[in-house]
């Protein structure tokens, strides 16, 4: 394959932002008919490289050759016309238009000056048939699953561009079956001699689908190799630049702390969101929450933190009732909450790392009692060091950091308030291997210091690794509680899947 003329060759691409070099003379070569995985931790420069290739950013240096011709796309539209199409994790289509309209928007077949609905639908059906997809193209896009939307997005990108397809974390919100369906599509495109750039955090998928791998770290090229020539450990080493301690455990922790529950929720719930449940939390205990998306996991967290105030039950601490009608009440009671939607509910993008870290503590103190500037700076520096937050300085807007570092900033925000009870909703979603391991280590560390944690995760292995207890949620109610040695992925899957066959299939994949 390396013998053929490269489809896309980028040499010494450089991009700087104020205070950081996001890309430092990075080379990247893509051949036709190749699936090329682009790997690296968050902040390694993957997105920046993609944005330079697609014209979303203007590069500061380097050359890009497509089919041997130099190109300099000024925007994504121009890149598309050259033949470079991109599909993002959050599908960039219009959910309230039909599938056919989404596929052909801007290129609708016109008859007597009018858009012909029938011709358009027929054309859309033909397009999707190439991907083995047979759906009603006249229905609105949001009627279909993310996987179908993803394929529609790919079909549109391929029809408009047709040479290079960039898939930016396409599988992040897909289940195993859907991933296979997507991979079928990718393989068929590969046969059509497209060059495909594949970005993912899932190493299994990378090994399954890719032919070559390029690894970036801190804006520099670490290496580019054929997938067949690298093994997992070496790949992780390339990405992290260090050995990752392999921590595996078969069943949950048995060292559940003794003693009376610190916080006791009784008959706690909110109609329409989560059925009433009992929950005891002991000091130094990690309670995991497992369940499918939409099963009531996030709803549990939100009712515990007062985001959606409970309408039944009560919460007691040492026999006294805690008011829990709002996040402010929860924070006053020593609670903290890292929400699932980091960008929407977590970070305050334009504020600096320092301001994001002090925000919750400052809000609790009230505006009249400001933290002195020096104390704020010290606190920010401490957490940047302690959590290894990758940022040029504490004054950088947090929105410019990578996902994993944003997550660490959010954790720092709550740790700064010295909470007794910390709720983490999907703390490791969408972040790279290194940050992932660090966050798990941090969870264990905090629990050893006597903090109580409630961690929601869709990664069952992860729950096994740190939980003393796991609550399984299904259909908006708490259906099972696993303790100690009973915490295994098999048991969790069984509890999630138990009632009806349809659910079991889904959970098994």
């Amino acid at each position: 394959m390396s013998g053929s003329q490269p489809l896309l060759r980028a040499t010494a691409v450089t991009k700087t932002f104020p205070g950081t070099i996001a890309l430092d003379k990075v080379d990247f070569t893509l051949h036709p008919g190749e699936v090329h995985a682009l790997l690296g931790e968050n902040g390694a420069g993957k997105s920046t490289l993609i944005k330079c290739l697609t014209g979303a950013y203007r590069r500061d240096g380097g050359d890009i050759l497509l089919d041997g011709m130099p190109i300099d796309p000024r925007n994504t539209l121009e890149a598309q016309s050259f033949g470079i199409g991109t599909v993002y994790q959050e599908v960039n289509l219009l959910p309230n238009l039909s599938v056919a309209e989404n596929l052909l928007l801007g290129h609708q077949p016109v008859r007597f000056g009018m858009i012909s609905g029938r011709t358009m639908n027929a054309a859309a059906r033909t397009m999707l048939a190439q991907y083995g997809l047979d759906i009603d193209v006249s229905r609105n896009l949001d009627n279909f699953s993310v996987a179908v939307q993803q394929v529609v997005a790919i079909a549109r990108a391929v029809s408009l561009s047709g040479k290079v397809l960039i898939l930016d974390e396409p599988t992040a919100s897909l289940d195993a079956q859907e991933v296979q369906m997507l991979f079928e599509v990718v393989r068929s495109l590969k046969e059509r001699q497209l060059g495909i750039v594949f970005i993912s955090h899932f190493l299994d998928q990378v090994f399954e689908i890719s032919d070559r791998i390029t690894v970036l770290r801190n804006g520099r090229l670490v290496g580019a190799e054929a997938t067949a020539d690298v093994d997992r450990v070496r790949l992780v080493n390339m990405m992290l630049g260090r050995e990752l301690k392999q921590e595996t455990r078969e069943s949950g922790r048995t060292d559940r702390p003794e003693g009376m529950p610190a916080i006791r929720f009784q008959g706690f719930g909110k109609s329409g969101r989560i059925a009433p449940f009992d929950l005891d939390i002991r000091a130094g205990e990690v309670v995991g929450v497992a369940g499918l998306l939409g099963s009531g996991r996030t709803e549990t967290a939100e009712v515990l933190f007062g985001v959606t105030p409970h309408d039944s039950g009560k919460v007691e601490e040492k026999g006294a009732t805690l008011p829990l009608g709002s996040p402010r009440d929860a924070i006053a009671g020593g609670f903290g909450f890292c929400p699932e939607d980091r960008k929407g509910d977590g970070i305050v993008g334009d504020l600096s790392v320092r301001e994001n870290i002090v925000l919750a503590l400052q809000a609790r103190r009230g505006w009249t009692k400001p933290l002195p500037a020096r104390a704020q700076a010290a606190m920010a520096e401490e957490f940047i060091r302690r959590l290894d937050i990758r940022t040029p300085d504490a004054e950088k807007p947090v929105g410019l950091l990578s996902g994993g570092n944003q997550q660490k900033v959010l954790l720092a925000r709550w740790l700064a308030t010295h909470p007794r009870f910390l709720i983490l909703d999907e703390p490791t979603r969408g972040i790279d291997v290194g940050a992932h391991a660090e966050i798990i280590r941090l969870i264990e560390e905090l629990c050893a210091q006597g903090m109580s944690l409630l961690v929601i995760s869709s990664e069952l292995d992860e729950l096994v690794a740190y939980s003393h207890r796991v609550i399984v949620v299904r259909d908006r109610r708490h259906v099972a509680e696993l303790v100690g040695e009973d915490i295994t992925t098999d048991n969790m899957v069984a509890a999630i899947a138990r009632p009806d066959a349809g659910r079991a299939d889904e959970a098994a994949t």
Binding site: R328, G344, I347, V348, G349, D350, R364, K369, A373
Partner: protein, 341 residues
């Protein structure tokens, strides 16, 4: 980068603009920078700008805070009219200066509370919520003055509008003092950061425990408080409360001042000092037009033209093009050097 140099960098575009506007006035009208002391007060066109710009400067202080929360306050002009009318009718009925001021400022705070409740509690969009008082407020002011200009001769109240302290006109001192106090309060306490957090991401701020409701109400009250002070100055300046014309359209000038000051209408990062410079830029344009001697038919066109130029120069597209151009200019000699090597 130190805080001081960051601050300087933030207000540089506004300072440059102000300097450019002042310089062009000085070209049209050579005596522009002459300042003398006449009749015990500083006298000169530059002083006029500081003095006449007082209402818009005061409004811009409050408007900056409101806009930082991703809101807008259209009612400030009407609140000016109400508070001016309240002050005039109070002295007209023989009230003393202190109770009069307290009453007028209290009225302003009540207007702000009303706006704040509509926005923060009833969740009405700010532009609609404040539109209510914008429309009704002038009517309320007319009711207070019974449709006429309510003239007063209370020396204490007049002093606020046209008196001087150490030769400096009182309105200038009042807006400078208010601006410094508010800027210090928001930056020395945590208020500024919390307001910015609400403007950037209200839900994340709420989840972090920020008391968004109380802060929003406080911000609208601050805006109306500034409008109340501006209204008292406007009435004191002409020794009468003119319900029909006091503060008319000034809400738009205040918004413009904030925008020229570089605070985004989408909320978030704000600078009160930059907004105040923005207000002075607007007043400098107004005064410059008056000094120029052009026929009045050209006033609005000239003003719009200048504002357009300022906003275009400050637009992100032009800014990034400018940075791009500058960087290329800087880097090209370096490139040449490497070639030589």
């Amino acid at each position: 980068m130190s805080a001081a140099s960051r601050f300087l960098r933030r207000i540089t575009p506004q300072l440059v603009t102000l300097a450019a506007v002042l310089a062009s006035i000085a070209i049209v009208f050579p005596g522009f920078f002459e300042i003398s002391i006449a009749n015990g007060r500083l006298y000169g066109s530059a002083i006029d700008i500081l003095n006449r710009g007082a209402p818009v400067a005061l409004l811009a202080i409050g408007m900056t805070l409101v806009i930082a929360t991703k809101g807008i306050d259209l009612s400030v002009g009407a609140v000016m009219a109400i508070c001016g009318a309240v002050a005039a009718s109070a002295v007209d009925r023989g009230m003393g200066l202190v109770p009069t001021l307290a009453l007028a400022i209290g009225t302003g705070l009540a207007c702000g509370l009303w706006n704040g409740i509509l926005v923060a509690v009833l969740k009405i969009q700010p532009i609609v919520a404040t539109l209510i008082l914008m429309v009704a407020g002038r009517g309320i002011a007319q009711l207070i003055t019974e449709g006429a200009i309510l003239t007063f001769r209370h020396e204490g109240l007049i002093f606020i509008g046209s008196g001087t302290f150490l030769t400096v006109p009182m309105p200038v001192l009042i807006w400078l003092f208010t601006g410094v106090i508010v800027a210090l309060v928001v930056r020395r306490t945590a208020l500024g950061m919390l307001i910015e957090a609400i403007g950037i991401n209200p839900r994340a701020s709420m989840l972090a425990g920020v008391n968004t409701r109380v802060l929003l109400i406080a911000v609208y009250m601050a805006s109306s408080l500034c409008a109340a002070i501006a209204g008292i100055i406007a009435a004191a300046d002409i020794r009468g409360a003119d319900a029909n014309n006091a503060g008319l359209w000034l809400e738009l000038d205040a918004i413009l001042a904030v925008v020229i000051g570089g605070t985004s209408l989408l909320g978030g990062r704000f600078s009160i000092v930059a907004s105040l410079i923005g207000a002075m830029i607007i007043q400098a344009v107004n005064t410059g037009i008056l000094l120029s001697g052009f026929p009045p038919e050209f006033n609005l066109v000239i003003k719009a033209g200048i504002v357009l130029v300022i906003l275009v120069l400050q637009s992100p597209t032009v800014q990034s093009a400018f940075i791009y151009f500058r960087r290329n200019k800087q880097s090209s000699p370096a490139d040449a050097k490497t070639v030589v090597q």
